[in-house]
């Protein structure tokens, strides 16, 4: 294989990896505060991109994205307040099942609003055929946008959790909810905040990947499955690990196409996920003890 092709496969792997990673980050925030996997995360991604596409008809792209992120955050808040806040004994299983139900409802509502048409946001820079050449490999500028936004989100989240009051309060809730409450932290508000943040990051992910993957009412499911795989692969709850997990999976998938028929691409990623779960249940970068702290 020539070096040019080698780098082209790497570029394809980066594309997949960062798309998965930016979706995966959304899973981590809710997981960190509540210990649940939000199966409606893919629907946040879909809502964000579909709303932005609709708004983009009336306003410039940056404004449309900003508004759609805000709208999706509000949806996330409403969701949490209506369906989770009042739960008397919020067991993990119960909350997970609620998120599954919600994902179906959101999908059906989106189908009623937008129909089944396939849409897309315009490319942020250039158009469908533009590409940037790096080491002889060609890569769409949109992929660079995904990489850039993904990095900014990861860094911003680290700062938020480390240095802000709300961030620290959220981490306190994650570590020990009872103790956090005794310190005067409103745990319920922290859960709402985690839904709002997740929804916002999901929506942003939806906007930035839309030119590459296209948007449709049911786009959330396959993206969420891959995002979930990557989140587990890296180690749940850690954004940096999600990015690393995304890159590992993306590059493996890309090179699997080189060696094998592309029909097996998804089978390979699931096989890898199973192996990791057998041998490193905490994920590639997670610690077993940390996982044991959660109720899951």
């Amino acid at each position: 294989m020539s070096t040019e092709l080698f780098f082209q496969y790497i570029a394809a792997g980066l594309t997949y990896g960062f798309i998965y990673a930016i979706v995966a980050i959304g899973f981590n925030i809710i997981y960190n505060t509540t210990g649940i996997i939000n199966f409606a995360q893919g629907e946040f991604v879909m809502l964000g991109s579909m709303t932005a596409i609709t708004l983009n008809a009336f306003m410039p792209l940056p404004l449309a994205i900003l508004l759609s992120v805000l709208i999706t955050m509000i949806v996330g808040a409403i969701m949490e307040m209506l369906f989770f806040r009042w739960l008397e004994s919020p067991t993990v299983l119960r909350m997970i099942i609620i998120t599954i139900g919600l994902s179906i409802i959101i999908r059906e509502i989106a189908l009623a609003i937008w129909g089944e048409n396939v849409r897309a946001l315009p490319y942020f820079t250039g158009n469908e055929v533009t590409s940037v050449s790096i080491f002889g490999a060609h890569i769409s500028p949109q992929v660079l946008w995904v990489i850039g936004i993904c990095s900014i989100v990861v860094v911003a989240l680290q700062m938020f959790f480390k240095f802000t009051r709300y961030g620290r309060q959220m981490r306190a809730c994650a570590a020990n909810r009872e103790a956090a409450r005794l310190c005067g932290i409103n745990a319920k508000n922290m859960v709402t905040l985690s839904f709002v943040l997740s929804a916002g990051i999901g929506a942003l992910a939806g906007c930035v990947v839309s030119p590459i993957t296209y948007s449709q009412y049911n786009m959330g499911v396959p993206l969420a499955i891959k995002g979930f795989t990557v989140a587990i692969l890296g180690g749940l709850g850690n954004s940096m690990a999600a990015v690393a997990g995304g890159l590992v999976l993306g590059i493996l998938e890309s090179f699997s196409v080189w060696i094998m028929p592309s029909a097996y691409k998804d089978a390979i990623s699931i096989a890898i996920l199973l192996l990791i779960l057998f041998f490193r249940p905490g994920g590639l970068f997670g610690r077993k003890e940390e996982l044991a702290l959660k109720e899951f």
Binding site: V129, T213, K265, D266
Partner: protein, 381 residues
């Protein structure tokens, strides 16, 4: 009060007894279409077309004085639903004929039901199996899918292309296309050097097109539906794989061109002439039919007419023409369809025979391409 109830009941019963007498003056035509669900891009324009035609004919006094009563059932592309709707239409509604279903899978499931029920079925689906072997009561209007593959290979011969790559989505449509392409390629001296299947929900296909590039293909044939058919076009151009891209006849909707944007330019695909109606030469026999259908459809529904709606147009008009010739006897109408020659429809010029229940030949397909975001005839480019 009791008297009143009894009175009401008897009035109702009378109404029920009287009703069939009125109903007898209409002619019931059933339709099983995938108006919603994964094949709504077929079923929705088909249903619109039928409603439009039924209204038009009824406003002119119906067929031979009898108004059309159109019963459209939405199968959502689900074969099980298609089966129960077919039984319902034949046994309960006792329809004169069935238009549809929209998809090949559904049509194959109800083929035998229509045969047993001795009810004419004019399908809007592509698969060759629908009319091969010939079933007495089953017809279809879209061009056979093997024609699409042949037309593509003929074009490749003209362009001197020998080594190609075939990529398809993992849907029934994609797999059927792959089988046809692999079967017919040797006849045209074309070598398929790589053949790949990808997930229909794939979000990006850069790795796959890189593989095509590495193999040194001279052209790529893609057989899938949205969004993959737009993604493959984008990814090919992005990595600089600048060989001709051929798509299936499933590309025949201007919405897909918009989805692929600049990457759609130069894509070559076979399709019926509806998409290029306005650039057809004026003396083309199909031009008046195509222009009328396109104008009527677009002014009423405010969306671009697609070839799929055209299949329903052909099915309906073939049925109407046959009824006008043969009257209201099902058997005679069936014979009339089988002997219909030179019927000008949107899909082409139909010449039915006892051995050919499709009636179209390979010339019903035209090779089209995309230029400046619009469909044009390849030879005009």
């Amino acid at each position: 009060m009791r008297f009143f109830k009894g009175f009401l009941l008897s009035v109702l019963m009378m109404a029920f007894m009287v009703f069939p007498v009125y109903a007898a003056e209409t002619i019931k035509i059933g339709a099983i279409l995938a108006v919603t669900g994964p094949a709504s891009f077929l079923g929705a324009p088909e249903a619109n077309t039928l409603k439009m035609l039924a209204d038009e004919i009824n406003s002119k006094g119906g067929i031979k004085g009898r108004k059309i009563e159109l019963i459209i059932k939405d199968s959502g592309a689900n074969p099980e639903k298609a089966i129960s709707f077919a039984k319902q239409l034949i046994e309960e509604e006792r329809v004169f004929a069935i238009i549809g279903p929209s998809t090949s899978g559904e049509t194959l499931k109800i083929k035998n039901i229509c045969e047993k029920g001795k009810t004419i079925c004019i399908s809007c689906a592509a698969a060759e199996k629908i009319v091969n072997p010939v079933a007495k009561y089953v017809f279809k209007t879209p061009q056979k899918d093997s024609f699409a593959a042949r037309k593509i290979f003929m074009q490749m011969q003209k362009m001197g292309i020998k080594k190609i790559g075939v990529v398809v989505g993992n849907t029934g449509f994609g797999k059927a296309g792959k089988a046809q392409l692999e079967k017919l390629a040797p006849e045209y001296g074309i070598d398929i050097i790589i053949s790949e299947v990808y997930d229909k929900k794939a979000t990006d296909l850069t790795a796959l097109v890189t593989k095509l590039k590495a193999k040194g293909v001279e052209a790529v044939v893609n057989w899938s539906i949205v969004p993959a058919q737009a993604i493959i076009a984008k990814n090919m151009r992005q990595i600089g794989l600048n060989v001709p891209l051929f798509q299936s006849h499933g590309f025949g909707n201007i919405k897909y061109v918009k989805a692929a944007g600049a990457a759609a330019e130069g894509i070559i695909f076979p399709a019926g002439r509806l998409l290029v109606a306005d650039v057809l030469p004026d003396d083309h026999p199909q031009k008046p039919v195509l222009m009328k259908y396109k104008r009527d459809y677009e002014s009423r529904f405010k969306e671009e007419a697609s070839t799929f709606g055209g299949h329903a147009y052909d099915a309906f008009m073939i049925l109407v023409t046959a009824i006008e010739k043969a009257g209201f006897d099902k058997e005679k109408v069936r014979d009339a369809i089988e002997n219909l020659k030179g019927f000008v429809g949107t899909g082409g010029i139909f010449n039915f025979s006892p051995t050919d229940h499709n009636g179209l030949d390979i010339d019903s397909f035209e090779m089209l391409t995309v230029k400046n975001g619009r469909f044009v005839l390849l030879e005009q480019k």
